[in-house]
């Protein structure tokens, strides 16, 4: 793909967005109310992740009995999630690393010490991949944990930023992500302080600050979108109880 | 310096590292320095792994708290020993010490045979007095070789005297190679830690560091 198709001189990206535009975000909470204690679906553009939370419950293995609740996260990628149907991989190291990162991040946000000697099982299923996989997982997990009624300090929100020369592009899709270097930024609450920062491709140090700034702004917007959905759902439940 | 197989002639009781097979001369079975006193002779070897023995003074870290016993770890990656909740000064069924995992205790091994779990106490059970045993608060712990720890405990060391001349400090030496140090402030504690560590390799020369 030519470089102009990624970001045209007029300032338009391949899918018609400007540099600071997020894709369409659709999120649902309590989507699998029968099968899980907490569940959520998050769609960012064409990426879609389902998160199911079970617990807090008694741990299956003794090693998970600790003075704080243990968050165990597993990520599975559906074979039909990419354009090319891939073989089902179970023990992918990339996914294991992603689960470990999710676990570390959410240990900061969830008040795990309130549920000692328990385990909170979070299973994420990636239904469709079109860039921003990690951030989509983080957002889905936040909503599912809220739905499960777990005490949390704040919303955890994340989004990624790709860099086209000096221009940061918010929330890149798959094409942009494969062509350009991108960072995933995650924040806890409505702050400018960055909790999660993952970068896997080469990027000049001097190009990082604008990307971080844009990423944090994106996260704040995502937080608002999620907050709106949680409040909408809460109002709906209250209304049904009043009847 | 003696090596396994060396003969030894002693009127004293034979301690660790020396065996006396029936009708044969006593023989050394460990490599190390021979250590003589009026009553006993033994071989001082500088090993790392501690094997509990009766009446050994030890510094341990509580790893688990159960209904009536604590489990105390004497070394990293070793099997914990038992410490009864009642084996403290003044402890009764109603008035028990409140210790948690991670707390440090100084005590001695009371019960040690091959068939049962090793047990320790933090009180002199014959007199009921603390004898300096009990929980160690604040300060810091270092790990040293077992031979060096025994030497510090039984014979003393010029470095300890040199530190004592300069600073006020408290010390608990465990024969499991753990030494607890506490001075008035962290800076001094850290310095004392380093001096004791240095003296393990440098010997009496480490006294110069203190000055």
């Amino acid at each position: 793909m030519s470089r102009f198709e990624i970001y045209s001189p007029e300032g338009l990206r391949a899918d018609g967005r400007r540099w600071n535009e997020l894709r369409h975000i659709k999120c649902g909470i309590n989507t699998h109310s029968k099968s899980a204690d907490g569940s959520a679906v998050v769609e960012m553009g064409a990426s879609k992740v389902v998160c199911i939370v079970q617990g807090p419950q008694e741990p299956e293995t003794r090693s998970r009995v600790r003075e704080k609740a243990t968050l165990s996260v597993s990520v599975t990628v559906a074979p039909f999630s990419t354009t090319e149907r891939s073989k089902h991989v179970t023990n992918d190291r990339r996914l294991q690393e992603m689960s470990a990162n999710l676990q570390n991040l959410f240990e900061e946000a969830v008040l795990t010490h309130l549920h000692p000697r328990t385990e909170i099982v979070c299973s994420l299923t990636v239904i469709a991949q079109d860039g921003g996989l990690l951030s989509c997982c983080i957002n889905a997990m936040t909503l599912a944990l809220i739905d499960a009624g777990l005490p949390m300090y704040e919303y955890v929100s994340a989004c990624s930023v790709a860099l086209f020369d000096q221009t940061p592009l918010l929330d890149p899709n798959n094409v942009e992500e494969t062509e350009l270097a991108s960072v995933t930024v995650g924040i806890v609450g409505e702050t400018d302080k960055i909790s999660l920062l993952i970068l896997e491709r080469r990027l000049g140090l001097d190009r990082l600050p604008p990307a971080l700034e844009l990423g944090v702004e994106g996260c704040k917007v995502l937080r608002q979108v999620m907050d709106k959905e949680v409040r909408r759902h809460g109002a709906m439940r209250l209304a049904s109880r009043a009847e | 310096m003696l090596l396994p197989g060396d003969k030894i002639v002693a009127e004293q009781r034979l301690g660790p590292g020396i065996i006396a097979p029936p009708l044969e001369e006593p023989r050394v079975v460990l490599a190390g320095e021979d250590s003589w006193s009026d009553k006993v002779v033994f071989i001082n070897t500088n090993t790392k792994r501690y094997t509990p023995a009766n009446r050994d003074y030890v510094v341990g870290v509580i790893s688990q708290r159960l209904a009536d016993v604590y489990r105390v770890r004497l070394q990293e990656y070793s099997k914990p020993v038992r410490l009864s909740h009642l084996a403290f000064q003044g402890a009764t069924k109603k008035n028990k010490p409140n210790l948690n995992a991670g707390d440090v205790v100084y005590g001695r091994i009371t019960h040690c045979d091959k068939d049962t779990e090793v047990e320790m106490e933090c009180v002199d059970s014959s007199s009921g007095k603390a004898m300096g045993f009990g929980q160690l608060k604040e300060g810091s712990i270092i790990s040293v070789g077992l031979g060096y720890a025994r030497k510090l405990l039984f014979d003393g060391h010029p470095v300890l005297d040199a530190i004592g001349a300069k600073h006020q400090y408290e010390l608990a030496i465990g024969m499991n190679g753990r030494i607890w140090v506490k001075a008035n402030d962290d800076k001094t504690t850290l310095a004392i830690r380093n001096w004791i560590k240095e003296a393990e390799t440098k010997g009496a020369q480490a006294v110069n560091l203190v000055k």
């Binding site: 991040l105 400018d192 960055i194 993952i198 140090l205 | 440090v104 800076k187």
Partner: protein, 284 residues
């Protein structure tokens, strides 16, 4: 870890001091030694000690990448390094170490894979870097990254030529071996977080056991961040992040210079009394 030791380390840190006597932003001294054969490096950082060995063999390239050679990094964490590691079982921490090294070196294209191609789609070089951990005192990621990149720079592969349809691999006597084409030198720098927003560089084992979180930056001399991993624990402002990156860059420059200097010394030693050929035999 006992609670008094935890309190001791923490209160020293709050006083801007560390048990090891280092400053908070001071890394341990790095020792680097090359072995007798090409691509053998031993790295020491404090009491952490590890060996990296690079080797090569001719293999078939992957079907989807016919113009590229193969590059593999394996790490071997065994109970030799510390009783905390069990043989044959990989914990999450070990997995993260492996993944980070892989991302830092392999995915940042430190090794030019296209230069390893011999005949497109037919044969290529497979370069392996094996890391063995000998002693553990924290900082595995930083040390192994340095070891692997230094080993790659030190390694010489046999020269090849093509005779019709045959690929000839020349022995070291026939032709001088060729260095690998290393495009840049990524260096990992790890930070550890403690309570009260204390950030410490290059933690040792005791500090690693007490820390609440960590962050690893991989950066090269040209100010390219190759990899950045920070997942939760302490929120940092972007200024703090940039400052950490700047510090990492300073250290990367230092280490890169050290590696190059050691390489120069090593090859001077090897080539003594030689006409500029760097044959492995000269050393013996």
């Amino acid at each position: 870890m006992s609670s008094i030791e935890q309190a001791f380390v923490q209160s020293l840190l709050e006083d801007q001091k560390r048990v090891s006597g280092r400053r908070l932003n001071e890394a341990r001294k790095l020792e680097l030694a090359f072995g007798g054969s090409y691509g053998h490096v031993e790295v020491k950082m404090g009491r952490t000690r590890l060996v990296a060995q690079v080797s090569s063999q001719v293999a078939k390239p992957r079907d989807d990448r016919p113009f590229e050679g193969l590059f593999l990094i394996t790490t071997d964490v065994s109970s030799m390094a510390s009783p905390r590691f069990e043989n044959g079982r990989q914990t999450v921490d070990e997995l993260m170490v492996t993944r980070l090294i892989e991302k830092a070196i392999r995915r940042s294209n430190a090794l030019d894979l296209e230069s390893l191609c011999i005949v497109a789609g037919q044969s290529c070089w497979m370069v392996r870097a094996d890391v063995h951990y000998l002693e553990y005192d924290g900082g595995f990621i930083d040390a192994s990254c340095i070891a692997v990149i230094a080993a790659l720079l030190h390694f010489r592969r046999p020269d090849t030529s093509i005779d019709g349809s045959r690929t000839i691999v020349h022995t070291l006597d026939e032709r001088p071996p060729v260095p690998l084409s290393v495009l840049h030198v990524p260096i990992c720098v790890s930070w550890s977080f403690f309570d009260n927003d204390i950030i410490v560089v290059d933690a040792d084992e005791a500090e690693q056991d007490l820390r609440i979180g960590s962050m690893t930056i991989t950066i090269n001399k040209d100010r390219d961040i190759c990899q950045f991993t920070k997942a939760g624990k302490i929120p940092l402002s972007s200024q703090q992040i940039i400052e950490c990156c700047e510090q990492a860059h300073g250290r990367a420059r230092e280490i890169t210079d050290l590696i190059h200097e050691k390489l120069k010394q090593d090859f001077e030693k090897r080539n003594r009394g030689n006409m500029g050929f760097d044959l492995a035999e000269n050393d013996r």
